[in-house]
Amino acid sequence: MDKVLGTLNGTQYTVGDSLLELSYLVAALLFVVGLKMLSHPESARRGNLYAFGGMALAMLTTLLLHRDDNGSNISLTNIWIILAAIGVGSAIGWIIARKVKMTAMPQLVSLYNATGGAASALVALLEYPKALTGDVGSILVTVLGLIIGAVAFSGSMIAYGKLDGKVGDVMKPFMTYINLLLLVLTLGLGVYITVSPNPPDEMIWAIYALFAISLVYGVMFVLPIGGADMPVVISLLNSFTGIAAAMAGFIYNNMAMILGGILVGAAGMILTLLMCKAMNRSLINVIIGAFGGGVSAAGGEQGNIREIALSDAAVLMSYSQKIVIIPGYGLAVAQAQHITQELDELLEKKGVDVKYAIHPVAGRMPGHMNVLLAEADVPYEKLVEMDDINPDMPNVDVAIVVGANDVVNPAAYNDPGSPIYGMPIIDAHLAKNIIIMKRGMGKGYAGIENELFFNEKTRMLFGDAKSSIQKLVTEIKTM
């Protein structure tokens, strides 16, 4: 391993050095292939495994083969310390990942994202004093890694708190200015540190100050963002963590880190923009504008709410040919996914064709609803995406809306004053009958009225989604 192979740019390199870089190449390729496979249903699970394999390989070879500038390997004592730290982290991470409920998935992803951001920020913080005076390139990537990592950490923690219901939305008009000020301060200090001719030893105060301000900025950045926009924010912060890791990769000139980080950063950014598109909002609008600030234009022609009795609903469903269930976050909150599946099965036995219409931003995370329904054993083929189900909606006998609101609000088509105007929706209003299961007459996350509730084809079934569906199942069984 220590056999010298040759000299490059005045430094000798050994067999070990070359093997290490080769392992990074393999790891980087596994990341790319893994990510690619993750985007296809059949190969997704293997893809995840491949990416993990790449990570494990890079960790192992780094541990065994990495040499510092003096050419010394990682000593055995250090290896033990590293293994202990990795052991503790793995155990905690694995236990949480196995125990957590599927409805809490968005929180968990936020939490893990926070830890990744924290790790990047800490690495940058600790590497800064080792930078050479005036080495603008290295200092720049260190500073960027620190800022982005710290913002990703504190921002993700706030996102975690919000999704878990521990932190509320805080939106004051002046916060936009404070945020702007914080952003200017962060970037200003970052530039100052980068171009300063002082040796890093004398700038330690500045780097810690930058760390602190970045943390505050992360908190203030996520605090005002409304619940409906959370999927976008999680995805954006996810992208940040990738970029932060890539910056740290530049510090070490480590190709696996650079490629893995940028790959995740770019993929996360695209996912973020896709989601913005699904909500018909621009990224800037999500970050700066608070959603549903009480400027609802809709008000007039509300009409009457008509309720439906359980037995009538049961009859209607049993004698339908085609039913579409439109699930929203309410279904997840009520933990109604399993009982919904039972209802579905029961109806299928009676010869009813049951499908699920999934809006891209249903739930608290893109695709969250698919995961929840999959957990309840709903076959993958029954989950139909919005664009595929909409043309078929006029042929649907009953559209059952379970705990969804904004994603079926026709105001998106016909009320230019509505905050959700232009957002693609599931065309529940085109179905022959509409049953809406709701707790009460509360508004959706966007905080606006839904004219679908007043549609003359609509019947409301008030109550907790889980117990309502439970009763429906019992009712249909006795028929």
Binding site: L35, A51, F52, V109, Y112, A244, G249, A266, P366
Partner: protein, 104 residues
């Protein structure tokens, strides 16, 4: 202008890698069905835990002869990074497992 060109030349490999990886990242996840958004996000999140390599290098070459804040923070970074990697891959696997089993 000259300075910008100078930086570009000195860091040209890095800039090439960034440019191409950005393109790769976009290409790789384009056309992903909405069903897979959550697992994809969580899997990508786990990959961003690659910062753990930095943690290993940092703690690996840390001086153990004296107790230092650097060592403590380094170990913390390492634990955080592992949490991100192991937790992220484990939870992604758990989600995808559910997609799989419904094949009767």
């Amino acid at each position: 202008m000259e300075q910008v060109l100078q930086y570009f030349f000195e860091y040209k490999e890095a800039i090439f890698i960034i440019a191409l990886s950005v393109f790769l990242g976009i290409e790789v996840i384009s056309n992903v069905p909405a069903v897979l958004h959550t697992p994809l996000m969580s899997g990508a999140n786990a990959i961003s835990g690659v910062i753990i390599i930095g943690g290993i290098i940092l703690v690996g070459h840390a001086n153990l002869s004296s107790f230092s804040a650097e060592l403590v923070l380094g170990i913390l970074a390492l634990m955080f990074g592992t949490l991100n990697v192991v937790g992220g891959f484990a939870v992604t696997d758990r989600m995808l497992e559910m997609f799989k089993k419904k094949k009767k």
